[in-house]
């Protein structure tokens, strides 16, 4: 495939994969976040409504993860292979947590016993939180760089993966999803439950703001290479400034009960965070902490241009279709949650 708009196919692929993961973070982000705040709801009825608010959509949201995995595999097979085998244990745990979470959602409503429901509520909430946390830890390591040798093979240890910077990123992602998820739930509920969730979302907003500040500072001090691009092109500082404005504005929207717009704002926050990281990273995909020249870049790890062309044309045909299904799905279930005989 030739260049299009003066941009190489590899870079298009980088943008597409970034967009898919961003879509995943926005969509699965709110249902994972709904899981994180689940235990803060006390009444059985509230928990049922909260669960049914994500009921019809969480499965469709996880599709974006599958598409992300597929496009990464197809576009940058070497990155896919090195990344997943380097984070072997975290990804195995991540997959098991996703399974546990799916079981918890499916099984919770099937028995009336109090202990049964409490057990699955607990599993659902903890696994949702840890899924977000694991993703954040991986993201933190991607920003920081991992020990890759000259044959693109990971030489580090499990302990290296759980470094303080990555843990901090993990917590930030959990905070962001909690904010995003609670705003979604406020939007889908009514009366007292809605008010209670609005309080939770304000707390989550505060928590995320603190995390974001600490993470930004830590990045400037400990991971200066991630901020280099911003120093070269100061105009890019518009992005973190926009992020800050959105945090403040989002909080104001919750106060004034404009929940739909608050949800859009937290979705925008989620994708801005990824945009910030992507800018810092490009043209690298996986930084080597051993030697910068061992890093996996768009140029040295992309699939053949023929293969990139095929996958990009899939995306060109497929993306509008997926968007249509998603809009159709969300339109069908717009409005407040009403429990019926097919509910969880």
């Amino acid at each position: 495939m030739e260049t299009f708009l003066n941009i190489e196919p590899g870079t298009w692929m980088f943008l597409v994969i970034g967009a898919v993961f961003s879509g995943y973070a926005i969509l699965d982000g709110f249902d994972l976040g709904a899981g994180t705040v689940h235990l803060f709801l006390r009444k059985e009825q509230s928990r049922r409504i909260a669960l049914n608010a994500i009921g019809p959509v969480w499965d469709g949201n996880e599709v974006w993860l599958v598409i992300g995995g597929g496009t990464l595999f197809a576009g940058f097979p070497k990155v896919y292979a090195t990344l997943l085998s380097a984070f072997y244990i975290p990804f195995i745990l991540f997959l098991l947590l996703l399974i546990l979470r799916a079981i918890a959602i499916e099984f919770r409503s099937k028995e009336p016993m109090l202990w049964w429901r409490k057990l699955w509520d607990f599993v659902y909430s903890i696994s949702s939180t840890l899924v977000g946390f694991t993703l954040g830890v991986v993201l933190g390591n991607i920003v920081r760089g991992i020990a890759i040798d000259d044959t693109m093979i990971f030489k580090g240890d499990l302990i290296d993966i759980f470094n303080p910077y990555a843990l901090l990123t993990g917590i930030t992602v959990v905070a962001l999803f909690a904010l995003h998820g609670s705003v979604y739930l406020v939007m889908k509920t009514e009366d007292k439950l809605s008010d209670r969730l609005a309080d939770i979302s304000k707390a989550a907003s505060l928590f995320f703001t603190i995390c974001y500040f600490i993470l930004s500072l830590a990045t400037l001090i400990y991971v200066p290479h991630a901020a280099e691009k911003f120093k070269e092109m100061p105009v890019l500082f518009a992005i973190p400034i926009l992020t800050l404005l959105l945090i403040i504005y989002g909080r104001k929207l919750i106060d004034t009960k404009k929940y739909w717009w608050a949800f859009i704002t937290s979705a925008a926050l989620t994708s801005l965070l990824l945009v910030t990281i992507a800018i810092g990273l490009y043209p690298n995909l996986l930084l080597s902490s051993i030697n910068e020249s061992y890093s996996l870049t768009v140029a040295n790890s992309a699939a053949s241009s023929k293969s990139l062309g095929i996958v990009l044309s899939f995306v060109l045909i497929g993306a509008p279709l997926v968007l249509i299904y998603t809009v159709f799905l969300f339109r069908t279930f717009r409005g407040k949650v009403v429990l019926d005989d097919m509910s969880y």
């Binding site: 006390r42 059985e44 049914n52 019809p56 959509v57 499965d59 469709g60 996880e62 599709v63 993860l65 599958v66 598409i67 995995g69 595999f73 197809a74 576009g75 940058f76 097979p77 070497k78 896919y80 292979a81 090195t82 997943l84 085998s85 380097a86 072997y88 244990i89 990804f91 195995i92 997959l95 098991l96 996703l98 399974i99 799916a102 079981i103 499916e106 099984f107 099937k110 009336p112 016993m113 109090l114 429901r117 409490k118 044959t151 093979i153 990971f154 053949s304 023929k306 293969s307 095929i310 899939f314 497929g318 279709l321 997926v322 299904y325 998603t326 159709f328 279930f333 097919m342 509910s343």
Partner: protein, 422 residues
């Protein structure tokens, strides 16, 4: 989907009840399927990093296509199917059911294409050398329509139809035996039995076509299916038997020259045997492949006999009075499940020692940096979680079946809690 179509056409209350009941069962199965399916998408990278680098150019595009074109369709419309009963019109709901069906069938296409490429690679060239050697795509459609994919896609589809129809048949046979929901069950049984019989018969032809392809493209696998060693001899076909790999002989009941006849329609053409291959280039577990393959065939034949016999009785109007047959059907659900599992075993073990036939050995495909104890750790963890998952699944499935269809005044099987949280 069939039930919902019938409901739309006839507006028969019974079909509505059947539809709602089977959607609930489907939801449970699908939930488990998604949870375990996502693992597959990532397992290539975690455990088979070298393989992923080698084949990513080709294999990746099939997986990406699966995600974009199939899984998205399936999962989105599933939400409508499960939760949209009161939200959308019956027509839109039925449309969603059709989309979920199509989505799963597309899904099977891409997954089987990816796997078939491992069996019979096509449409690629090898580039690079040493550590950076990898397969690069040259012709997308040649890759998709590689020599084995069409046969195998249809074979897998029908296998899935059989698994699905026999689940329905067994549940309704059970109801008839227990004298519950008899009217609805008889209607359901009749409709589904026809589909099951057609599928079982069709599977005979796709199986034959598939095996002929294996003979052409993967002769070592075919020879393992029948434990055939000597290359100069005509090949027999066994009904059942036991392979002794050291003595290179099979003891059992056979149709002389049966395999030769099925492949070449004569009794004289020799079939390439296992001895034509270097010991390192052919499967070592010949008896295992032989047994799994024959178990699959035997079950397939049993299903044909069972469905045709039942159709005959249905036509005579005597089917539902045969209590022993209904009891047999209650247990029949395990047959296609076993056949599907052993069929995959024989196909995959039969490909060994190759992960991509003739190109990449399984032993060269692993992740270089992942240590054996890490793999052990994940294997144990997955085994535990899957065992819990499986027992809970069976428990809940049984509970739903025991609960039965939904009749007026009994709208939900999700009981409200006896005690509520404070």
């Amino acid at each position: 989907m069939v039930f919902e179509g019938m409901y739309l056409r006839t507006r028969d209350k019974h079909y509505e009840q059947l539809t709602k009941f089977w959607i609930k069962i489907f939801a449970l199965i699908f939930g488990i399927g998604v949870a375990t399916g996502i693992v597959m998408e990532f397992e290539f990278g975690t455990n088979w990093a070298a393989y992923s680098r080698y084949v990513g150019d080709i294999f990746g595009s099939a997986l990406a296509a699966e995600g974009v074109f199939a899984f998205a369709l399936e999962s989105s419309f599933l939400g409508v199917l499960l939760f949209g009963w009161n939200k959308v019109s019956p027509r839109v709901h039925f449309f969603s059911a059709v989309m979920v069906t199509l989505g799963s069938m597309f899904s099977a296409i891409w997954i089987v294409v990816a796997n078939s490429w491992q069996q019979t690679p096509a449409g690629f060239k090898i580039v690079g050398e040493g550590l950076t050697v990898r397969a690069e795509i040259t012709d997308f459609w040649a890759m998709v329509f590689n020599p084995s994919s069409l046969d195998r896609i249809i074979h897998v589809w029908i296998a899935a139809f059989l698994a699905g129809t026999f689940l329905v048949l067994s549940v309704h046979a059970y109801y008839i035996v227990k004298n519950r929901f008899v009217e609805q069950s008889k209607k359901a049984f009749g409709v589904i039995l026809v589909i099951a019989a057609i599928s079982a018969l069709a599977q005979l032809f796709t199986g034959h076509s598939s095996a002929s392809g294996v003979a052409k493209n993967q002769p070592a696998k075919l020879a393992s299916f029948e434990g055939h060693y000597d290359s100069l001899a005509v090949a027999d076909m066994y009904i059942f038997g036991w392979v002794n790999d050291t003595k290179q002989s099979v003891s059992g009941v056979k149709i002389p020259a049966g395999l030769t006849f099925l492949l070449y329609q004569n009794f004289t053409t020799p079939v390439k045997g296992l001895n034509a291959f270097n010991k390192n280039d052919r499967p070592s577990q010949v008896n295992f492949i032989f047994q799994t393959y024959h178990l699959m065939i035997s079950i397939g034949m049993a299903l044909i006999a069972l469905t045709l016999f039942s159709l005959f009785l249905l036509w005579k109007g005597k089917l539902f009075t045969k209590r022993w047959l209904m009891i047999a059907f209650s247990f029949s659900v395990v047959l296609p499940q076993i056949a599907n599992q052993v069929g995959w075993y024989s196909a995959e073990v039969g490909r060994q020692p190759w992960v991509v036939y003739g190109l990449l050995r399984t032993s060269d495909a692993l992740s270089e940096n992942v240590r054996a104890e890490q793999v052990m750790f994940s294997l144990i963890l997955f085994t535990i979680v899957y065992l819990i998952l499986f027992s809970l699944f069976i428990y809940l499935l049984n509970k739903k079946i025991q609960h039965g269809l939904y009749t007026a005044g009994d709208i939900s099987d999700n009981p409200l809690p006896t005690k509520t949280l404070k």
